[in-house]
Symmetry: C2
Subunit: 105 residues, 2 copies
Amino acid sequence: MAISKKEEFTQEEIWLADVAKSLSHPARIKILKMLNEMNSCMVGSLVDKLPLAQATVSQHLKELKRVGLINGEIDGPKVCYCVNTKALAKAKSALDKLFNKIGCC
Amino acid sequence: MAISKKEEFTQEEIWLADVAKSLSHPARIKILKMLNEMNSCMVGSLVDKLPLAQATVSQHLKELKRVGLINGEIDGPKVCYCVNTKALAKAKSALDKLFNKIGCC
DNA sequence: ATCTTTTATCGTATATTTACGATGAACGAT
DNA sequence: ATCGTTCATCGTAAATATACGATAAAAGAT
């Protein structure tokens, strides 16, 4: 019958799920793409190109920053965001590891 | 001032966010790992190794199935789940594309 | 000093997610 | 036909996510 359930989740599993959560909204996917493609990475530029209010975009940026996928540098009254290449690489590697298996059926 | 906001999200962005959402819980990460590692993929085996009730595990399996990352085959009164290798490969490819860029700062 | 610009945070409403017990449906065994 | 097993679904409570307007904070410009 198995009445155990002692096992918890590993830190790696929790972290990877957290990274995935930060990618789980189209706006945040788009923001990452825009940060890669645009020269300027001011918040205003992002707001202009997203169908969302400034407060909402700021909230999405906060979520991406929370898991370390992007960094923000203050530049006068503006803030310049950029992707954290190292964090992206780490996430990519972890996801690759999860995905590079073969199904059991 | 830019008062446009015409742009919506692409289907690709929406789909990728959806895949990420399905990975955004440690239990679902663990389930994918278990489906890769175990010989048996009965729901009961998963429930035994997860700190969650059967109904909750079933709900997580439904979410993974919703985005196509796993398939379930009915086998008598049991159900055998397995990863959808093609879907995983597609997701991996899309994430790689998103991640293989260089930051702007 | 005051004003404007830029961004973050607060407050809040609504929607979604997560979790569980209870119940239902499908099937094999008796 | 009834019973036990296996899994999905229902109902529901609590937590989290999403969105926006309003407001605050920080800095440059006048």
